[in-house]
């Protein structure tokens, strides 16, 4: 593991010290050792260990968030803040090979602090630790809610802080968003803790098995979901690239347009779902191009109107292909209209300004940008600043000025990591075309037949 920056080190040491102080305080509290139910504490600690050892991997970089705190919250109800703190300490021992000691200590400290704070909140809100009786329900929901809130808030704050200190601001924003997204499911899992505690009086430890089973099934399904999702993304990219293999120079165009589109979309503050959709839309925007006969793309000089019409048809062809994919929805409009122009002189419908769907306005900018910054058979790739100048020149005529300015802002901050410099095509094997319908600096010339 890479060396931690010094603020993160200080932070993690401080957290560890706080946890040690808390634990010492718990154990030394007068008479606690005699009052505590050791078997209950032991089973809960074991349960916590099992949960902690198989964390759900969320899409948050570096932070594997586990649902083990349902055990910690059950401990809050059954054995009080001191017990919850001790249960949280088990995170240090979790069976996860390759987890560095620093992280183990950090996790342990964090769970000790969260557990104790939740216990404190539980007691403050009027809860009494111990086996819940029938008469405690539903009144117990209030202190339990307070405990959950304290636990989740402190957990999120502590984790977000370390992410911020380790990873810098940009990543912090992404991580934070994902954390909030999963907050809902955390609350769902938290009620498992209440169930464990509530059932303890009836069937003791078997309650943990009954409670764990749906939990693991949910995790199993989520794991499969993430695996399928990754597999899906890889497949869609591979198939789009297969469409491009015919033309040597446009290889990788779809992935780069997808990346650039999502940069713009993120910059204008699109939500997660739409962001996902525009990534796919960018990826798929040119699948209809295969319907354009190769001889049209390879023709030197001007095209006849009929040949140009074949090119103009490709967004519709693309739409026709992907129409069977239900979830794309808004992406359809993006694919169909990605060659509309801001001044209404584009194709296929000749929409203008805000009539053009937002997705299409974004893809149009990304598409032209990648075309200009990639090598073509008839010219070398243009440098970034030339391409940006070209975008600015055409903003308001071809492109939506808002999208252009947002793209330039994002480029200025993050750069363009995907700039492609294709090596010379390996001789006769590769096909090249002499035209690129996406290139705004080389508009396709059409001879009028009238």
């Amino acid at each position: 593991m890479r060396e931690l920056p010094w603020p993160a080190k200080v932070y993690s040491v401080a957290l560890n010290l706080a946890a040690v102080f808390l634990l010492a305080h718990c154990v030394l509290v007068a008479g606690w050792m005699d009052r505590v139910e050791w078997p209950t504490l032991l089973v809960l600690a074991l349960l916590f260990l099992v949960c902690e050892s198989v964390p759900t991997l969320l899409n948050v970089p570096q932070a594997a968030v586990s649902v083990s705190y349902s055990a910690a919250l059950a401990a809050v109800v059954l054995v009080g803040p001191e017990g919850a703190a001790l249960v949280g300490l088990m995170a240090v021992l979790s069976v996860r090979p390759g987890l560095p000691l620093v992280k183990r200590l950090f996790n342990g400290a964090q769970f000790v602090i969260c557990g104790y704070a939740a216990g404190w909140a539980f007691e403050t809100a009027g809860g009494v630790p111990g086996l819940p009786q029938i008469t405690d329900f539903p009144g117990i929901l209030i202190p339990y809610g307070a405990a959950t809130a304290a636990f989740v808030v402190i957990n999120v704050v502590l984790t977000a802080t370390i992410l911020l200190l380790v990873g810098g601001v940009g990543r912090h924003q992404v991580a934070l968003r994902s954390i909030f997204q999963f907050l809902g499911s955390y609350v769902g899992y938290a009620t498992f803790g209440l169930l464990i505690a509530g059932l303890w009086a009836t069937v003791q430890s078997i309650s943990t098995v009954l409670v764990l089973l749906p939990l693991f099934v949910a995790r199993w399904a989520l794991g499969h979901y993430h695996a399928e999702q990754r597999s899906y993304d890889a497949t869609i990219a591979a198939l789009c690239q297969a469409v491009e293999t015919k033309d040597y120079y446009t290889r990788g165009h779809c992935t780069r347009v997808s990346a650039a589109s999502s940069m713009i979309a993120e910059e204008i503050g699109m939500g997660t779902e739409r962001l996902r959709a525009i990534r796919y839309a960018g990826m798929l925007h040119d699948v209809g191009k295969l319907g354009v006969p190769t001889k049209v793309l390879q023709k030197e000089g001007k095209l006849t109107e009929e040949e140009f019409a074949a090119i103009q048809l490709h967004p519709m062809r693309g739409l026709e292909i992907v129409r069977g994919i239900d979830f794309l929805d808004e992406a359809f409009a993006g694919i169909m209209h990605h060659h509309e122009r801001h001044d209404g002189k584009g194709y296929p419908m000749g929409l203008a300004g805000l009539e053009i769907p937002e997705f299409a306005r974004i893809i149009a900018v990304a598409d032209a940008f990648d075309s200009m910054t990639s090598d073509r058979a008839y010219r070398k790739a243009k440098p970034l600043d030339v391409a940006v100048a070209e975008l600015l020149k055409n903003a308001g005529t071809q492109f939506d000025p808002i999208m252009v300015s947002n793209f330039i802002k994002a480029l200025g901050r993050d750069g363009w990591p995907l700039a492609q410099t294709a090596p010379e095509p390996p001789g006769e094997l590769a096909e090249t075309t002499v035209k690129d319908h996406d290139d705004p600096t080389m508009p396709i010339q059409v001879v009028s037949e009238r």
Binding site: L195, G198, A221, T235, A237, I325
Partner: protein
């Protein structure tokens, strides 16, 4: 998968729906006559069943499930007491609450034009009723043991046993229906259904018992407390089912690029994949194998995208073997780029291998289906199909697997009769 839904209900499904309908009537009329015992509890569980039915989802293979509704039904059937007061509902009352809850939960779907799968609903109702009829007679004695000795283990054991029996019965019913619906062997269908039902079934069973036990110590607070976690499970499954469906749709859609590019006849990939799946079912392939087969069949011509110009007509049965083999290699290379679909890539790569080289069964199926479609196309002419089959048989089992061709003959015969 070619879902033959639109062809109406077959006899097994009708039988099931009739049985469920009769049960519903018996349950409701009995309850109306005898009065609702412990109405507060009945309403609480009924509402949860309705909510679960509202949040039903469709799992891969067009299987409709409603985990929350099923778990609530199980919980109500297994209930011993609520907060210390014994639960006295009869099995018929359980049936009545279940059916009313299910119908109430289905109504909003019907209102927006998404009718429920009647057979799936009937199955859910039957499974719950089965458990209720088996368990309710013991409920009183089990509760007595638990109350006097404070020992809940006998009750827990009976619950677990009966739920296991019920789930097994449900899997068998589902498999019988599926075998009839998609014409696959019963044994294969049982294995498929079990694989699909096991994880969700375990979660639902545990939640149902949890609910019955939790009602003892937590009163009706158990209902919301229990519903939230199972909803999380359901969300996970919904996401999983969603991506599976999207995946299939996407591969189906993108397999058409070869048609748009003029490399193959319109509809070729789709027809080859449908025929391949039918043959695969006939030969007893399991569902995961069928999925790989479908992906491979849809993408079997994707290698042609790397060719300079389309082969005229795209009929790879008429192209020379060297060229066909190259297309297969190029296609496998494209699929290998995904980094995940290794099995599919292998099937595509070996789609031209003669039988002697022992290619995977899926490759042999695709090879025969592809040749058949090249010869027959979209035509539904019996004589033309028969001629094509004869031509495939003529080769005597060196290029085309004789068992596959025989299975294809049966499938084609069935399809032609249906038209």
């Amino acid at each position: 998968m070619a879902a033959p839904r639109s062809q109406g209900l077959d006899s097994g499904q009708l039988l099931l729906i009739c049985a469920a309908g009769m049960l519903t009537i018996a349950g409701i009329s009995h309850t109306a006559a005898a009065g609702l015992a412990d109405s507060r509890v009945a309403i609480g569980f009924g509402v949860l069943i309705a909510a679960g039915e509202l949040a039903r989802l469709t799992m891969p293979g067009n299987r409709e499930v409603a985990p929350v509704s099923t778990a609530a039904s199980l919980g109500y059937a297994l209930l011993l007491d609520v907060g210390g007061r014994e639960a006295t509902q009869s099995a018929l009352q359980v049936v009545a609450v279940m059916s009313v809850g299910m119908i109430a939960g289905a109504l909003p779907h019907v209102a927006v034009g998404r009718p429920p799968r009647l057979d799936a609903m009937a199955r859910r109702l039957l499974a719950g009723s089965l458990l209720a009829f088996a368990y309710r007679p013991f409920a009183h004695s089990l509760y007595d043991i638990a109350r006097t000795t404070g020992d809940w283990w006998p009750a827990l054991g009976v619950m677990a046993l009966l739920i296991a029996v019920m789930l097994a019965a449900d899997v068998l019913i589902a498999a019988a229906l599926r075998a009839e619906q998609v014409r696959t062997a019963f044994g294969v269908a049982v294995r498929d259904e079990f694989r699909m039902a096991a994880p969700l079934g375990a979660a639902v069973a545990a939640s149902g018992m949890l609910l019955a036990l939790a009602s003892h110590s937590m009163d009706l607070t158990a209902l919301p407390a229990f519903a939230a976690p199972l909803l999380v499970t359901q969300v996970a499954f919904r996401k999983y089912a969603g991506i599976r469906a999207t995946y299939l749709q996407t591969v189906r859609a993108l397999s058409r690029v070869t048609e748009v590019g003029g490399y193959v006849e319109p509809g070729h990939s789709r027809r080859v994949s449908q025929l391949s799946i039918a043959i695969g079912r006939e030969l007893g392939l399991s569902e995961p194998q069928l999925l790989e087969l479908e992906y491979a069949a849809l993408m079997h011509d994707i290698g042609q995208l790397s060719l300079r110009d389309p082969i005229p007509g795209g009929a790879t049965v008429l192209t020379d073997p060297v060229q066909a083999r190259r297309i297969a290699e190029l296609g496998a290379e494209v699929i290998r780029q995904t980094g995940v679909l290794h099995g599919v890539a292998d099937i595509v790569r070996r789609q031209c291998d003669p039988v002697g080289e022992a290619p995977p069964i899926a490759s042999r199926i695709i090879r025969a289906a592809n040749a058949f479609d090249d010869l027959v196309g979209a035509s539904t002419d019996r004589d033309r199909a028969a001629a094509a089959l004869d031509r495939l048989r003529l080769d005597g089992g060196t290029e085309y697997d004789a068992a596959v061709v025989d299975a294809m003959a049966r499938v084609v015969d069935r399809l032609m009769t249906r038209l």
